[in-house]
């Protein structure tokens, strides 16, 4: 798999179809990989592929520093590829501006990331080239995909509140979650707007609650469940639960799954006459 990836990368760089390859390289420890940016064909052997490549490299599409390197080819797993679909639909990139190097994947992370347990994108649904032979994408039923939430949804209102207050208390407002998220691409995020200061910047319980709720809500109908926010959180807060809950509601109410279809309308940018309204008196 790694030889094929390196050969393809070299070929792309030599033929000038792309100017840079966003790929995975050796990390500080064997269990870690880190993003590498290959611009010269002879450096391609820095590229590796193993089960520790959890990183969602599409986040570098939003950063000016990496974009200055020119047209990228991105090594993407199935889940990462969904990000590109959303970025295109939200006019952040054009399809022709990025060369998608899809990699078939049977799950990453040691222990296996929760998203990989119910993965239906072993083969990316959008790519220019595919490394590794195609794996038939499974059809995972709705309940199985959101099974992780059941345990939390069953809690009583008080238990839920206490659980989340305990989690949010740990937040130190380092914003690693929104910095890593490829879909949090606002230059001036709402939390940075201080006239008026909608979200208190301090890391006290009130500020943490309004930050975490707003961050999750702003990803409603957009998050593609790559679980990077949860991985990078230094305080180890299960952030992806909030996004997954919103994804579940979006799919249940609007039959919309983010990142699967490049043509349908973005869930929160449209409406249907018969949207659910049983909670409205």
């Amino acid at each position: 798999m790694i030889e094929a990836l390196r050969k393809k990368a070299e070929e792309l760089l030599r033929s000038n179809t792309v100017d840079v390859i966003y790929g995975y390289g050796e990390g500080s420890t064997p269990e870690r990989t880190r993003p590498v940016f290959i611009t010269k064909p002879e450096d391609v052997n820095k590229l590796i592929w193993n089960k520790y490549c959890v990183y969602n490299l599409t986040t570098y599409l939003k950063r000016q520093e990496s974009r200055k390197l020119g047209k990228p080819a991105i090594v993407v797993k199935g889940c990462d590829a969904k990000t590109i679909v959303v970025l295109i639909k939200e006019s952040q990139i054009k399809r022709e501006d990025v060369y998608i190097l899809g990699v078939t994947c049977n799950g990453v992370g040691e222990p296996l990331a929760t998203k990989c347990k119910a993965c239906d994108v072993n083969t990316p649904r959008i790519y220019d080239d595919l490394i590794g032979e195609k794996i038939e994408n499974k059809e995972i039923p709705f309940d199985e995909r959101y099974a992780e939430l059941d345990e939390y949804e069953k809690l009583s209102e008080k238990e839920k509140w206490d659980f989340w207050q305990k989690q949010f208390a740990k937040c130190i407002k380092c914003y690693a979650c929104s910095s890593i998220c490829p879909l949090c691409f606002c230059d001036r995020c709402i939390v940075d707007k201080n006239q008026p200061q909608w979200i208190d910047p301090s890391a006290h319980p009130r500020g943490n609650l309004s930050w975490n709720v707003t961050r999750a809500y702003h990803l409603a109908g957009r998050c593609i469940n790559c679980e990077e926010c949860q991985r990078v959180c230094p305080a180890d807060i299960p952030l992806n639960l909030l996004n997954k809950k919103l994804a579940k509601e979006t799919e249940k109410n609007f039959n919309y799954r983010s990142g699967y279809n490049i043509d349908d309308e973005l869930a929160m940018a449209t409406y249907k006459e018969d949207d659910n309204q049983d909670f409205i008196k």
């Binding site: 939200e90 006019s91 952040q92 691409f185 606002c186 230059d187 001036r188 995020c189 709402i190 707007k193 006239q195 008026p196 909608w198 702003h218 309308e265 973005l266 929160m268 940018a269 449209t270």
Partner: protein, 681 residues
């Protein structure tokens, strides 16, 4: 900049002061609310002396913000803002606290009412501290009006506007203007012939130098906004050059295809392939029906240019115009671009298609005709030159049965409304029939006779008493052919008996329906329509001729069934609205519009260009704008609001995740200040 805010608490006679201690509210506000420099109370703030007090205090105290604690903003926000303008204060620094409808009138307990009023006033003083001056948006007005539809409504409106000194573009789908009124014989209640009263108006419209008429044309698309509509008109190919043709009729006399059903005569007569719809047609220049003309059929079959076909060509040969013939087979559709300031929609109605009524023979029996067909029979320029003859064998009918409410007031047939004109025109039909067939007898089956207009009741009584029509109150269950007679089975509920009439002819007073393409047309103009596809007026009582979109007005039956007097009245009303609109060079619009953040380089704007705002905007008022560097390269693509189109709903502001787009008058700081001022803890 610290604001100097004046707070004026109104007694409203005793409406407020009965359950709210207005003095205490004023005093508390002066004591506690930051920025408040002057407070007073007054018996009637909205009265002249009240407004004078406001104007004087603004000047004397040098107030830069005003809060009026009185009745609902829906009542006098405008009044107080005008008072502010008169004393040099930008009106958008004036806010209203609703302490009457939403406090004093609904909370009898005085202390509770007083405390709540103080809160409501505080919320507004806080909001005023964040108010910004807003200048009304000036929108350029194109001094030209567009009239869609050439019936009596369209003609009347066009004449009124043209006489008002403004340019008018009229677009009519058919080959001639005139609409349905031209098809009528005499009109109620005066029985004067429709051609006589309408043709002069049609000629006047044709010759009016302010009116440009496009017949045989349709609206391709309309974009833009109040004062600045960009209209694309598709002039369908007539195959006749209007300038050259003199209307001498040589061509349509030699045309061999004579078997085409004339739409104008509602299928009771035939017309040629090259034809004018009716003798008094304006323009009285023919059009070639490319569907049925054998030359065009041949060209289509051989897939060649029409002019290259050698089949027939009788009309072009007969055309006396030289050196260039007035007929041109290769004429193409033409798209014309026009900019107009206002639009009047007068697209008229369609008669209920007869196939819908299986019980009455459903279009099977030739002698069961609709009201409009009877009009053609009775019309002097009609297929029978005004004589009442049965379409099947041309015999003069001895007994004619008129059936009212065919389609109307019948939810199972899809229109539950009353078509308003049938009672009157059926009474007229019985009179016309009796005048022309003295020994004939007319029966009318009706549910209720609705003749509410001026002189209408007398008219229908005349049909019964003087003309001797027999009115039977009841529905007709079935009409079937027996020999050459039509058996009409009905009930006469007044005598409680079943009635069976052997009639020679049956006339159905068919319902007035919306045009077939009304829905697509409404979507093209983005105006709203009701369940029956008639266009919806802005407000049934107070704004009957305005549509839901600013700058687009309605006239005539396209807005709902109505008779000619009402249509002409509406046309005049719509025209007067347009004249008011076109009277000023610029139009002032409420400046409550959205605005996308703009900053100095290198930031330029906090907008990231995800365009959610564009996707949700109901008025497509948001465009994309490329911010370019000096060398022309695009730095970033951001959103921009078209102030003309934006109606100030705030949808974009609530959808924008980074809050880079805000609604003036309800911007972030103002809403935040209001929530902050609620001050529960």
């Amino acid at each position: 900049m610290g604001k100097k805010i004046g707070v004026f608490v109104c007694h409203c006679g005793t409406n407020i002061s009965a359950t709210v201690d207005v003095e205490k509210v004023a005093e508390e506000t002066k004591k506690n609310n930051p920025g408040v420099s002057y407070t007073t109370t007054y018996k009637y703030m909205c009265s002249d002396p009240g407004q004078k007090l406001l104007r004087d205090k603004i000047k004397e105290e040098g107030l830069t913000g005003v809060v009026i604690a009185a009745c609902s903003p829906k009542m006098h926000e405008h009044t107080f803002r005008n008072a502010a303008i008169k004393s040099g204060l930008n009106p958008y620094h004036v806010e209203i606290s609703n302490i009457r409808e939403q406090c004093s009138w609904v909370h009898p307990d005085k202390p509770v009412g007083t405390e709540k009023s103080t809160d409501l006033v505080r919320m507004m003083t806080e909001k005023v501290r964040k108010d910004k001056s807003l200048k009304p948006i000036k929108v350029h007005v194109t001094k030209r009006a567009l009239i869609i539809g050439g019936g009596i409504a369209g003609i009347q409106a066009a004449l009124d506007i043209a006489d008002g000194g403004h340019e008018v573009i009229m677009v009519e789908r058919e080959a001639s203007i005139g609409g349905h009124m031209a098809q009528l014989s005499e009109t109620f209640p005066t029985l004067d012939c429709s051609q006589c009263i309408m043709t002069p108006k049609m000629v006047e419209a044709a010759q009016h130098d302010n009116i440009t008429m496009h017949t045989w044309s349709e609206i391709e698309s309309i974009t833009g906004y109040l004062g600045n509509f960009d209209v694309k008109i598709r002039k369908k190919a007539r195959s006749v050059d209007l300038d050259l043709c003199t209307g001498c009729s040589s061509c349509w006399q030699v045309c061999p295809c004579k078997k085409i059903k004339s739409e104008f005569d509602m299928g009771l007569a035939n017309r040629t392939a090259i034809y004018i719809p009716f003798p008094q047609a304006i323009p009285s220049k023919p059009v070639i029906d490319r569907e049925n003309c054998i030359l065009f059929k041949d060209a289509r079959k051989k897939n060649i240019k029409p002019n290259d076909s050698k089949v027939c060509r009788k009309c072009i040969d007969a055309c006396p115009i030289a050196p260039v013939k007035a007929i041109d087979y290769n004429q193409e559709d033409e798209i014309i671009d026009v900019k107009v300031g206002a639009i009047i929609v007068a697209t008229g109605f369609r008669e209920l298609e007869d196939g819908l009524y299986g019980e009455y023979g459903g279009g099977k029996y030739e002698d069961v005709i609709t009201g409009m067909q009877f009009e053609r029979l009775a019309s002097a320029s009609g297929p029978t030159d005004g004589k009442i003859k049965r379409p099947s064998d041309g015999k003069e009918p001895e007994i004619v049965v008129f059936i009212q409410c065919v389609g109307s007031r019948d939810p199972s047939k899809g229109c539950s409304y009353c078509s308003k004109t049938c009672c009157m025109y059926t009474a007229k039909h019985t009179m016309l029939y009796k005048h022309k067939v003295h020994h004939g007898h007319a029966f009318v089956f009706y549910i209720d006779i609705r003749c509410a207009g001026k002189g209408y009741e007398e008219f229908s009584q005349r049909a019964i008493e003087e003309e001797g029509a027999t009115y039977l109150r009841g529905r007709v269950s079935r009409v079937y052919k027996k020999g050459d007679k039509l058996i009409v089975l009905g009930a006469d509920t007044l005598t409680g008996s079943v009635v069976e009439i052997e009639a020679d002819m049956v006339v159905l007073a068919s319902a007035m329906k919306a045009q077939d393409d009304a829905e697509q047309f409404a979507q093209k103009l983005s105006i709203q329509y009701d369940k029956d596809k008639f266009f919806s007026e802005m407000h049934p009582k107070l704004k009957p001729v305005e549509s839901s979109s600013a700058g687009i007005f309605l006239a005539g039956t396209c807005q709902g069934p109505k008779d000619i007097p009402e249509t002409v009245a509406q046309a005049g009303a719509a025209a007067s609205k347009v004249l008011a609109l076109l009277s000023s060079d610029e139009l002032e619009r409420e400046p409550v519009v959205a605005r996308v953040d703009r900053q100095l380089p290198p930031v330029f704007s906090t907008c990231i260009g995800c365009f959610y705002c564009q996707k949700v905007c109901p008025y497509s008022a948001i465009e994309s704008e490329d911010i370019k560097a000096r060398d022309g390269s695009v730095i970033k693509t951001v959103a921009r609001v078209n102030e003309g189109l934006c109606q100030g709903c705030g949808l974009c502001a609530a959808t924008c995740r980074s809050k880079s787009i805000e609604l003036d008058g309800f911007n972030d700081e103002q809403i935040y200040a209001e929530i902050n001022a609620v001050e529960f803890n």
